[in-house]
Every structure is written in C-alpha cells, then in structure tokens.
C-alpha cells in the first residue's frame, strides 16, 4: 500500500510579478486585489499605501496584513520576502489569519527575479510548502525596448518569464509593439505574450503557469511548452533582424536527446554546465528520459527545483527535450558536453 502522494499537489502556488519601474505593476496590483476572483489569494506587496485600498478593507487588522472585502489578503513585506512567506505559512497553519490558497508576489522594480526563485527552492520551509507557479513580467510598450537594451535585469526578467504582459500598448505604435514582441521572443522563445490595458487583468491570467502535479495531463504539456510538440525545429532561435537591440548573446536553445539517460549522467552533465557557466544559464526547463521514466527538471542559473518524476509520459514522445535560455552558450556545446559526460560514464 504505497502512499501514492503527488509531491507537488499540496504545495501553495506562488506567482511572481516582475517588471521594471514604470512598467505598471502598481496599477495592475491595485486593480487585481479588488477583483472578485481574488478570494483566498494572498498578495505580497512592497508598499500598501501605493495601492490605496483603504475603502475596501474589512478591518485595518494589523500593520502589514489586511483582509479586503472580497477575501483577498494584502500583506506588506517588512523585512524580506523569505521571512514574509514563512510567516504567512505559519500564521495560516495556526489559523491566526484568514485562509488562502495561493500567493501572488509583487517584486521590486529593479529586482533580478532569479534570487527570489532561488530562495523559494533553497529555503527548506518554503520549498516544502510552496511551489513557484510562474513568473509574470510586465514590459512597458513605450520604454521596454530601451530597457531591454540597456538594463541587464530587464533581460533576465523576460528570460525567466512564463508570461509577459505588455502594458501601455495604447501609447505605442503597432510597429513598436511588433518589434518589442520580436525582441521578447528572441530572448525567451517559449514565453506567452499578452497585452494589458490600464492594469485590467483577471487573476486566472496570472496562475496555472507552472507544473502543478506529478500526474501527467494536458497542463503538463502546456507547462513544457509548445516547442516540445512534435515537429518543432531544434537549435537556436533568432526571429528576424529586429531583435538586435537586446543583448544579442541571450537566446533560447532547444535540445533533444533520443537515448535515455541515467540520472547520474544527466545530473553530472548539468552540474558541470552550471559549475562552468551558471551565471549564463538563465533558465533550463524540460523533460528527461531517465531510464524510461519521465522526469521534469527546471532551474534558474545554478539552482534547480527538485526533479519531479511524472506518473506517466504526457505524450507519445519519450525523448529528452530541454529548453535553455542562455547567454553566449551554443546548443552544440551543450550537446557536446552531455554526450561527453555520457561517454565517460558508460564503461567502454
């Protein structure tokens, strides 16, 4: 009688909202917290005064946790996000605050989201009780292209994004927007781009982006991304000539391996890659055939989420398919590294 537990099912999903100063995060959050579908959602924000919720409060409960009339909980960061998430879990576990089923975090404008993701994976309590559902990055249609060219953090915010929301589209020309979309896809080919007007967004557009279950289903395929579909071309992806304004060395690589790995070989190769080029490995995501079993891996720089063994393959394709977003690393060199490690770990 095995427990048959799904290691992901019980964890509280967390969505990170990133975006540069002026990208429209405050406008979006202030509308979001009032949305009727925000019951039982905790929103962690930097500064409660900015979003003006005084008229929507059930009570002004404490310095930094407020319950709104729609059931949404607003929580201001006091020290850092790590402590805030720990306290939210502990207070909820003790029944000392209103219950919530998911968390949405507004990160600070300048933030590189990678350390936040790493915190969620490396803190033992957070790793046990929360899971990263996704990174949503706001990009301003007017200034986004400039920031992607001049601010490395902006590029990383896009590289790590599961979804990009383009804001202020009404202030930009159609050409500007098309060029921005091309730039975004050149950095992160898999990301899904949507447009938001005046911060009007349904909570459902911010959730369900990550791997929520080890039981394979349609959403597993969505999580793994369209490029894993049969027929998708392999190799480096650069979409046209208009993409040169961002750091041209950042791009998406898709690799496929048909022979199964042993876990030792696969993890050793990945370890070697992150040891040598961790800072340039912005993101890795994919499904690995480990001696026949489907294992989902995802990581940011040198930090990896715990690998998740799915209960079955989500499609007929049993090949290993990995998507890397890297800075100045070629697909061939990664493939060569995996093959070399495979060769050295297999007795001749």
């Amino acid at each position: 009688m095995a427990s048959g537990r799904d290691p992901l099912a019980g964890k509280l999903p967390v969505t990170l909202i990133t975006g540069f100063l002026g990208a429209g995060k405050t406008t979006l959050i202030s509308k979001l917290v009032r949305h009727p579908d925000m019951n039982r959602v905790a929103v962690v924000i930097n500064e409660i005064g900015e979003i003006g919720i005084d008229h929507d409060l059930v009570t002004l409960s404490s310095e930094n946790i407020s319950l709104l009339a729609n059931g949404c909980i607003c929580c201001t960061v006091r020290t850092d996000l790590q402590e805030t998430l720990r306290e939210l879990f502990n207070l909820r576990r003790a029944g000392l605050m209103a219950d919530f089923d998911r968390v949405i975090v507004e990160t600070t404008g300048m933030a590189d989201p990678a350390p936040v993701v790493q915190t969620m994976v490396s803190d033992t309590l957070l790793q046990a009780q929360f899971r990263l559902d996704g990174v949503v990055t706001l990009v301003d249609a007017v200034n986004g292209a400039y920031l992607l060219e001049h601010q490395p953090e902006a590029g990383k915010q896009v590289a790590l994004a599961d979804r990009v929301l383009i804001t202020k589209g009404d202030l930009a020309s159609a050409e500007q927007i098309a060029s921005l979309e091309a730039t975004i896809h050149a950095i992160n080919q898999q990301t899904d781009i949507r447009h938001v007007r005046m911060g009007e967004i349904a909570p459902s557009e911010l959730i369900g982006l990550g791997l929520g279950s080890a039981r394979a289903n349609d959403s597993t395929l969505r999580f793994l991304g369209e490029s894993l579909d049969a027929g998708a071309a392999e190799g480096e992806r650069y979409l046209g000539a208009r993409t040169t304004r961002h750091d041209p060395r950042i791009g998406t690589l898709s690799l496929r391996f048909d022979a199964p790995f042993t876990w030792d070989t696969f993890s050793a190769a990945l370890q070697l890659l992150t040891n040598l080029r961790g800072p340039d490995m912005l993101r890795v995501k994919g499904i690995v055939n480990v001696e026949g079993k489907p294992v989902v891996v995802q990581g940011v720089q040198h930090i990896f989420h715990p690998p998740v063994t799915l209960d079955r393959w989500p499609s007929e394709d049993h090949g290993t398919r990995l998507v890397f977003i890297t800075r100045a690393i070629s697909a061939d060199s990664i493939r060569g590294l995996f093959q070399a490690v495979g060769a050295i770990t297999t007795p001749a």
């Binding site: 427990s3 537990r5 409960s61 310095e63 003790a94 219950d99």
Partner: protein, 417 residues
C-alpha cells in the same frame, strides 16, 4: 525572525480553514445532522453507493445517503429511535446487512443491544433480529465492528455482567451473526479486576476529573489477522488480544500512556505491512480541559513490548483550544476491508473535533507529516459554537466523508495529496 501581527478576527470559529482539501458537498441531513461515530458504505444493487450514518443522539436512529455522485449526496432514509433516552452511536454494513448499536442513558433500560437490518432495498431497511444486551448494570452497546459478515465485535454490557465501577460496564464481546436472524455470543473479554467477583484487584483509576472508565471502545478485527482483536480500552489503554479461540481470549499486547496522560484510548489501528500501530485518544472535555489528546505512533515489532515512537503533529493549541467545544483526537478512518473503503499503510485520516479533519503521511513514522486539513466553519446554531467533526470515512476513490457531532451533518471532501 520578523513577526507579523495577526488579524484578530481571522481566528473566528465561523471561518473555514482548508489546506489541500476541497468541499465537494454538504448535507445537513434535514436538520438532524448531529452525527455519531458510525460511517459505513454499502455498494448496493446496480452499483449505487449508500453511506450509512449513525447519530450522536436521539431522536434519529440512522440515516442513509446516496453518494453515488459525491457532489450531490441525497438522503434516502432516516429512521427513528423508540424514545429519547437511547442512542445509536455506531453502525457497520457488510453486503446488505447493517448492524446498529443501541446504548441507553442509564443501565437497566431498553433497547440496549444490536439490531441487524436487511438493507437490500436501502430506502426501506427491514429488521432481521435484535440481540439484547440489556441488564441491571448494562447500558448496552456503544460501538460495533462488523466487516466480515460473520462476527460483530463490540463494546457492550451484558445482563450477567456486574462491573465494580459503573463506568466499566462495556467490555469486549463477539457475536456470531452467521445466522443473522439468530445471533449468539461467541466470546468475551474484560479488563481483569473490573468485574465484581474477579480475583484480580480493581485497576488504579485516573484522577477523578479524567476518570472516564476501564471499558472497551473500538474493537477491530481485520482479515489480515483474524486471530487478533485490536482494542481501545479507554482508560485501560490499548490491547491486542489473541482471539484464535474465542472461548479463551488471551492478552498479547498492552500499552497505556495514562497516567501521566489523561486517559481515553479510543482506537488501535494496526499498519500490518509496517509493524506499526496508530493509536488515537478521544477528547471528551470542552475548551482544551483534557488537552493533549493525541494520535500516537507505536512500534509493534515485538508484540509483547509495544514502544511509542512519536505522536502525530497536533493542530495548534492557541488556535483551537478556545475555539468552542472539544479540541483533540477522536476517530480515524480504519482501513476497513469493504469494497468501497480506502486502505493505506501510510496515509491516515482522522477527525479532531473543532480542529476538523486532518490527513497525515506516516511514511516516516518518527516524523509524521500533516499534509491536509479541512475545518468547516461553525454550523448554524451549533451549541459548541464551532465545528465538532466526530468521525470520518474515506472511500476507495479517496473521497472523504466526515460528520459533525452537533447539527452540521455530512461534509464530502476531496483531498489534493
């Protein structure tokens, strides 16, 4: 560590608390939703799934709910007790035969015993037989265990049993019901020294505020070990009995945490593949007065020397002790052998009165992990002012059925584990 001061209104008993469990349906059972500690599922003709529920107290006897679609439970029958001083707190169903326990408020009254009903047409249960356990010192039957169609194992008084202390009236009895129209006693065992005339001395009682009795509560026998009975004997502790010869029952194991703890061992659930026992207490006092009431993990590799190795992580005292009513352990889902019962040697589901229903992963028995809970908001007009989840049954599809002790009725839940 930074501490966030908590909103005070959030701990109110009318608030539902949930972690990894979702309410599929709620049914107040026509206003008679004060439920006991008997939940059993019948797979009736045509695959209909009928949940049989015992009531905490009169006026209702038992209730049948069609849960073929667990999202829309439909009450199909609710029966009456003959008078208000009897309760039918426990029941079990095997095939189409339903066994129901009757316990009176004071000794000497009737009906005190066990009824067997034919529920082949669930809407119209037909009485097959009544086994009388009444007597001058007997309140009848508190709990039944009926899973094989042949024997009813029960906590019962008897006409010929005079306890030294009136709290010790119910002991372990086995009824042979292989002929359901004529049940006969097949065996009995009581805590030595509790019966008038016993050679052994009377047991040392707990201090008066925790003295709840040396009597049987749950009396479980599983198909994996038909020669063993797993008994919660309230203040007497947990027993494993050798019942291979039902006319000569022998003690194989005994473990008790009280004193220094506060008595009332309720259930002994063996995890056969792992040589472990899960032992639950019952909280019987309001406001945390008998805290802590726990679930214990016992290493049973050596039957003669059961060793406690841990307790399940309890719900936080600060949040629940004063929430209203009782707070602490009670019934667990008992891995019943029936066709519609969930069985797991690692996942344990229990009810904890105002701390709701809670799900534990015991994969590491030294460090049991709480993985889900559901604490319904207080039912309307509840005298406790908070939910008081009393019993739980989990079906083979992992749907959780749990009941409130006062008024709340039936809650159907889905686990996300």
């Amino acid at each position: 560590m930074a501490s966030l001061s908590a909103p005070q209104q959030a701990a109110r008993a009318d608030q539902t608390l949930a972690r990894n469990m979702k309410l599929l349906a709620h049914n107040d059972l026509s206003g008679f939703g004060g439920m006991g500690e008997g939940i059993s599922m019948q797979v009736a003709a045509g695959g209909r799934r009928i949940l049989w529920l015992a009531h905490e107290s009169a006026p209702k006897n038992f209730t049948g709910v069609d849960v073929t679609d667990p999202k829309s439970p439909r009450m199909i029958v609710q029966t009456e007790l003959p008078h208000a001083k009897v309760r039918s707190n426990s029941l079990d169903v095997v095939g189409d035969i339903l066994a129901v326990a009757y316990q009176t408020q004071v000794p000497g009254m009737k009906p005190a015993g066990v009824d067997l009903f034919d529920v082949s047409t669930p809407e119209t249960p037909k009485l097959i037989s009544h086994f009388d356990c009444s007597g001058p010192y007997s309140r009848g039957v508190h709990a039944v265990w009926f899973v094989d169609g042949k024997y009813v194992h029960m906590a019962s008084g008897a006409p010929d049993f005079q306890p030294r202390n009136p709290l010790d009236d119910q002991f372990y009895r086995i009824l042979d019901v292989s002929n359901p129209s004529k049940p006969v006693e097949a065996g009995r065992w009581w805590y030595p020294g509790t019966r008038e005339g016993d050679a052994e001395p009377a047991p040392q009682r707990l201090v008066s505020r925790f003295d709840t009795g040396f009597r049987a509560h749950n009396t479980n026998v599983f198909p994996q070990r038909p020669d063993r009975a797993y008994i919660g004997y309230i203040d007497g502790g947990a027993f494993v009995l050798d019942i291979a010869d039902m006319s000569n029952i022998k003690v194989k194991s005994h473990w008790n945490h009280s004193p220094p703890f506060n008595g009332f061992i309720h259930t002994l659930l063996p995890l056969f593949e792992r040589n472990l026992w899960v032992v639950s207490d019952e909280c019987v006092q309001d406001g945390g007065a008998d805290w802590p009431k726990l679930v214990w993990m016992i290493d049973s590799r050596n039957e003669a020397n059961p060793v406690p190795i841990g307790t399940f992580p309890a719900a936080p005292y600060d949040a629940f002790a004063k929430r209203g009513g009782r707070f602490g352990a009670h019934n667990m889902h008992e891995n019943l052998p029936g066709p519609a019962s969930f069985r797991s040697d690692t996942i344990i589901v229990g009810t904890f009165f105002n701390a709701g229903v809670r799900v534990y992963d015991t994969t590491n028995p030294y460090q049991v992990e709480e993985i889900a809970y559901y604490v319904p908001g207080a039912p309307p007009l509840s005298p406790a002012g908070a939910i008081q989840l009393n019993d739980v049954f989990v079906d083979e599809k992992q749907i959780v059925y749990t009941v409130d002790r006062f008024g709340g009725g039936l809650y159907v839940l889905e686990m996300n584990i």
